[in-house]
Symmetry: C2
Subunit: 221 residues, 2 copies
């Protein structure tokens, strides 16, 4: 009983540790660039353990992916299902959640964007796309609600607005080098990221979408 529990916990700890390391390395150098030798080496386990636990390199990658995605989707859905908020409030809150979450895990988000952009029509690429679509659809639901309730203008381009939210964020967080040159600051500096860049992105996106989406713009303010 006790030993059973202990054993399960240790095993899961070890798996989690491998997933932690794999996530970091995948994010840094991409799927192709991350060798199983490097991952197992930095995780301090034998190379064969990766196949023993996850079947293959691709299985390891999917395990990393699935572990990561769950919590974020739950947060979005909880906001979307709140009855007491207007669509605009929901959208603002989702943007906050999105920027908070995704800037912390920006290396992981980079990984996803990169792998999805590869022209492979394999089950891996399909699966990644499907999971990303869940987030997209959460945003879309809010936009549709906003139009239906009259909070948003009727002539907005919902799909493009979604592309702007995700695209703007990706552009900043997907390439540290480019973003650092554009912004004149080191975006890998956590202090700058937390105290300046994150609030700036949030504020910008809200201001931008406010003038584009809302019916009752008060431009004098």
């Amino acid at each position: 009983m006790f030993s059973n529990y202990k054993m399960d916990k240790e095993k899961s700890d070890k798996k989690d540790h491998i997933l932690d390391v794999a996530e970091r390395i995948f994010s840094d150098v991409g799927f192709d660039g991350a060798s199983t030798r490097l991952i197992s080496g930095e995780a301090g386990v034998n190379m064969a353990m990766l196949n023993y636990y996850f079947g293959s390199k691709e299985g390891l990658f999917l395990a990393v992916f699935e572990r990561k995605i769950a919590s974020f989707q739950n947060m979005l859905q909880n906001i979307g299902n709140d009855e007491n908020m207007s669509a605009w409030d929901k959208l603002q809150m989702c943007i906050d959640t999105f920027i908070n979450k995704v800037v912390v895990n920006n290396c992981f988000q980079r990984l996803i964007t990169r792998e999805v952009s590869i022209n492979k029509t394999g089950p891996l690429s399909e699966k990644l796309t499907d999971i990303l679509m869940v987030n997209v659809l959460e945003f879309k639901k809010i936009f549709v609600e906003g139009v239906a309730t009259g909070v948003f203008r009727k002539d907005i381009d919902i799909e493009m607005a979604i592309a702007t939210i995700f695209g703007t964020k990706n552009y900043i967080s997907n390439s540290s080098q480019l973003a650092s040159k554009l912004l004149g600051n080191d975006v890998s500096d956590i202090k700058y990221m937390d105290e300046e860049l994150k609030p700036r992105i949030k504020n910008y996106l809200k201001t931008l979408l406010k003038v584009y989406l809302l019916n009752d713009n008060d431009n004098s303010k």
Copy 2:
């Protein structure tokens, strides 16, 4: 004399052909995914020719890159240096040029975005970033001019607006699968791309930036 010209032309044709093939393959499967055997095979040349002409696989990649980027940068600069246009007109024209150019070569743009997002601090990644920055700075110049001439509002976030232009476009064009699901159409369908999507992106970006940037918004229209 004559034979010299002929020879140079044939050689350059051959080189160009290799670059054409390499560009397509690099764009489809990424730098790591593209083997020199595959490239040379599809180009119909011996594998050793790639090293003979371009020194290495990385040299070939840079050659592809540099050949591609020149014409686009010239177009942007010509627009930016036009004395007879307002900053807003320039920006609109740059957006048109950008969407036209980049949607045609979307696979190539995808390649750049992907490779730049890899956390390598090598000369290749640096060079890619530098070349991309040239385009970014062209846009920035227009924004700064717009603020200085009073055409744009003074409280706009220039860097973020740039991120929105590039980011929104990238989000649509970097993943065919995701974009197709978001838009409900096959974005790899050239007819749909040319007749519907491209005008839609242009119109959206102009409308969005107009309400965000301009001082004299006529929202009643």
